[in-house]
Amino acid sequence: MTSETPVISCKNVWKIFGQDPEGYLSKLPPGRTFDDIRADGYIAGVRDVSIEVSRGEMLVIMGLSGSGKSTLVRCFSRLHEITGGTIEVDGQDIMALPEKELIELRRNKMGMVFQNFGLLPHRTVLENVAFPLEMRGQDKHERRDRALEVIKLVGLERREEYFPRELSGGQQQRVGIARSLAIEPDIWFLDEPFSALDPLIRREMQDEFLRLQEMLGKTIVFITHDFDEALRLADRIAIMKDGAVEQCGTPDNIVLNPATEYVRKFTEEIDKANVVHARILTDMSATGEGAPVEASATIHALAKLLVNDTRDMIPVVDNGKAIGAMPRKAALDILVGAD
């Protein structure tokens, strides 16, 4: 398998809740909206979604609550049986997997972190973290060692013998993270992992998470409804509304070129200067003069320079290599928020 094959690839996926979803979908005329479907007595959790996640990428799924984020991710791991379309994980159609292989897939490749932690209340931290290892029948000592290792990784040493209810929310979520990491999954699903935590701890956990991600470099699907969180973490962002993906792209792209009115509204409040990088404003065919700026710098970081400079085109370098030049006016427009 080459690294170009996407890790997760889903095509025209539908997930409809109701009495007879398959029958309903097969007779569904094209162009029916979410509300039309609801009027028919069904709920469209996921509506005709096609999306790919490549190896090592962090895809953040965003949207208001009820927009189908959780449902989509639960389709990826087949916690929900999809109503239509196909989902492939590592080139394998997961809907075709027999129960045994599905269990194997989850035991070896997938980890998931839940919004409300989903810890087993009767098990200690250690036993919770070792649970997936126990389920796949790993030797007692081995799984203990491995569990202790991940517990240390998330900074919960000396809490191994505690029960979940004896821990704070942030600590419980660390247990959830440790548990999902215990089997060294290739694919990591996180469903609003920090939204049950209070803001201070959330910030801390995000940093912790970034540190982990840097260390582990996994393929990640991360759900949040918090734009700042998404911007801090994402390689790409998919914005969902009423079960459908409205737009999927890099943060810069979404902020600069919103595909729909909904996305534009959604991103309105954002300070674009914080999101947009010099790279995306760069005109590859142009050249500039004088001191260059880094392609990975945000406009916000370049604010002082942009205001004081007088050049029309500022050269941009990526890792020391010139890649083109950025029109100063475009950057200034973003800085002052003019559209």
Binding site: R74, S77, L79, I103, E104, R106, R107, N108, M110, G111, M112, F114, Q115, N116, F117, G118, L119, L120, P121, H122, R123, T124, F131, P132, E134, M135, R136, R158, E160, E161, Y162, F163, R165, E166, G176, R179, S180, I183
Partner: protein
């Protein structure tokens, strides 16, 4: 617009439920008036004998088919004489030294009391330690150790079996809808079937003696375990389930490691109920001659030995409260962590202490006989003295005056006229009234059931006795309501009293029903009044309890809103609290009726002329068909009330948006 739509609804349905109910009631009234004026043909008054289908004969044929043709009896007998007998013998040997395998001596009472105290301490600190240890010390000192252990030896076998069966059926009902659908109606019948109806088949299929007692006890205790298991499994949080799936659990692993442990609390509440029901039933198996505390109590009450009855009553109550508190403490007790590297003897210090005191007292018992067994002579029983005291007290003019007066007024002015009136209503009229009531209260479904159920009762050939049973139930519940409701309302006024009254009710509900006969018999002797009295006391407990809970459960905003509108206390009670508490109170009222149906059968022991009396008589024989017909008469009547009232409570709750 709104007026229009209600008009349309009315024309569509035709007559409203209330109209139909009034119509039915009028017909019943006409029938009764005709009866009183002697104009009613006798076949309309009572169903003629020859119309009564021989249900008992059919049932007997069915039982014979099951027993002999299907050879079920062989299986049950094998189970009774094999594994069940073996388990019962083992516990009997250990607890009171019955000469069976493993042929140990009886365990010294002091060893059991000390271990129980340690267990109590582990589960709930000093108070539970004192309660648990104290109960066993009391039992030994008062000279009832053997009786108590006879009771316990059955309980110890029956409760785990009931737990296991309940758990497995509960899991099956949760997993497969068809099991659930099959089990539910059976459970509601089982829960209303009088216990005499459990006893006789148990005797016939499982041999007289402890085995039959154990089987009846198990059947009686299983239903709540099933319900609690299903409830607990359904309540497991979806994220925990998903976490289990994502951890790669197979189906069996899901059940074993995720569902059942996550439903721990409900399952343990089920355990508590199993234990309490087992105790209540084991005591009642005295009616089929099983030895133990129940049999002793029955004998003592029968010969009017009030002192000893009182002592046995105290023992049973102490045992009940101990078992209840211990098992409830177990529900609340959550595991706590030890620091890493804690030694194993620290981790298991309670188990080790219990073992140590057990061994210590067992050894001590070998040398000092008193610690092993307290004989009859050495006991501190004050039976005679208490007996004299109670009888002297009752002989005081003033006491006798009061009880005599109550008895007179109740019997002559209230109970007897009421009974005679109910009996004078023509069968059809009676059924119509019941249907009208069910329709007015519960709606069409309960009315339909009422028709079928009471129709069957009328056809059973036991109509008069059914009416007398119903009369005892209704009069006791009405009096209980008149007394219990004000008590509940008063108590609900203050936080402190609510708590106290609820605690008292909670405790009283753990007492085996048999106990409630004692005060009634003490005060009113063996008379019809004490039948009503015992039912009344028993039924009052849930009434008070749910009244307090209902009133205290009224959301604070609403009472505050009433306060801010300047309502007086009385206005607030009548226009805010009572209407909102009514659905909950209805549940309590329903439970009171169910309890009354249960108790009225036990009261047959005092001497009644109702179904219970006939049921008790069947126990002596092998008349299974008749036993079942009688039992179902009770169950069907109880179910009619149950459905109508609960459906009313549901509707009301939905209306109030609770």
């Amino acid at each position: 617009m709104a007026v229009l739509s209600t008009n349309q609804a009315l024309t569509r349905v035709g007559y409203s439920d209330t109209q139909i109910a009034s119509g039915l009631f009028c017909v019943a009234l006409v029938l009764t008036v005709l009866q009183y004026s002697g104009l009613l043909p006798s076949w309309l008054h009572r169903i003629p004998e020859e119309w009564v289908p021989p249900f008992a004969v059919w049932l007997d044929a069915a039982f014979i088919f099951i027993r002999e043709d299907l050879q079920l009896e062989k299986l049950t007998r094998w189970f009774a004489e094999g594994p069940l007998q073996f388990m019962l013998d083992t516990t009997a040997n250990l607890l009171y030294g019955k000469r069976r395998w493993p042929r140990f001596e009886q365990i010294p009472w002091s060893a059991i009391a000390a271990s129980a105290a340690v267990l109590g301490y582990y589960l709930g600190g000093w108070r539970l330690a004192l309660l648990a240890g104290g109960t066993f010390v009391w039992t030994a000192l008062i000279g009832q150790w053997k009786d108590a252990m006879e009771t316990m030896s059955v309980l110890i076998v029956a409760a785990p079996l009931a737990f296991l069966i309940g758990l497995l059926v509960g899991i099956a009902a949760w997993k497969y809808t068809w099991v659930d659908r099959a089990v539910r109606p059976v459970l509601s019948v089982l829960q209303t079937l009088p216990f005499f109806t459990y006893l006789l088949p148990a005797v016939i299929f499982f041999k007289v003696g402890p085995t039959a007692g154990a089987v009846a006890t198990i059947i009686y205790a299983v239903p709540p375990m099933i319900l609690m298991t299903t409830l607990g499994l359904k309540k497991v949080s979806p994220e925990v389930i998903e976490a289990g799936k994502m951890s790669g659990c197979s189906r069996w692993q899901m059940l074993r490691h995720v569902y059942v442990p996550a439903a721990r609390n409900e399952i343990l509440v089920g355990v508590n109920q199993v234990i309490m029901l087992c105790l209540a039933m084991v005591v009642l198996t005295a009616f089929i001659g099983m030895p133990g505390l129940g049999a002793k109590l029955l004998a003592m009450m029968g010969s009017f030995k009030l002192g000893r009855s009182f002592e046995i009553g105290v023992t049973i109550v102490l045992l009940a409260v101990t078992l209840d508190r211990l098992s409830k403490a177990w529900v609340v007790k959550l595991p706590e962590h030890f620091e890493r590297g804690t030694r194993w003897w620290v981790r298991h210090k309670y188990a080790l202490t219990a073992l140590a005191v057990f061994v210590f007292f067992t050894v001590l018992g070998q040398f000092v006989g008193w610690f092993a067994e307290i004989g009859r002579r050495e006991s501190f029983s004050q039976g005679k003295e208490i007996d004299t005291a109670i009888k002297t007290f009752l002989a005081f003019d003033i006491v006798q005056g009061i009880t005599g007066q109550i008895r007179y007024v109740l019997n002559v002015w209230v109970l007897n006229p009421f009974r005679d009136f109910l009996l004078s209503i023509p069968t059809f009229g009676f059924i119509l009234i019941v249907i009208a009531g069910a329709l007015a209260i519960g709606g069409r479904r309960p009315a339909l059931y009422a028709t079928v159920f009471f129709g069957l009762v009328a056809l059973s050939g036991w109509w008069d006795r059914s009416v007398i049973t119903l009369y005892s139930v209704i009069s006791a519940v009405i009096i209980a309501t008149l007394i219990g409701l004000p008590i509940g309302i008063m108590a609900a006024r203050s936080e402190k009293w609510s708590r106290r009254v609820l605690l008292a009710c909670d405790t009283a509900q753990t007492f085996p029903s048999f106990i409630y006969l004692i005060p009634a018999i003490m005060l009113f002797g063996i008379t019809a009044t004490s039948v009503v009295m015992s039912i009344l006391i028993f039924a009052m407990v849930p009434l008070i309890r749910y009244t307090v809970e209902g009133l205290r459960g009224v959301p604070l905003e609403m009472t505050e809103a009433a306060d801010m509108s300047g309502a007086t206390r009385r206005q607030k009670l009548w226009s805010v609290q009572l209407p909102l508490a009514l659905p909950t109170m209805a549940v309590g009222f329903n439970q009171a009726i169910m309890f009354a149906f249960f108790m009225v059968i036990i009261a047959a022991f005092i001497g009644t002329q109702d179904l219970g009396q006939e049921l008790q008589k069947t126990l002596a024989g092998t008349d299974l068909g008749k036993n079942f017909v009688l039992g179902f008469c009770v169950a069907l009547m109880a179910l009619t009330f149950d459905m109508a009232i609960l459906s009313w409570a549901e509707k009301k709750k939905a209306q109030l948006g609770l």
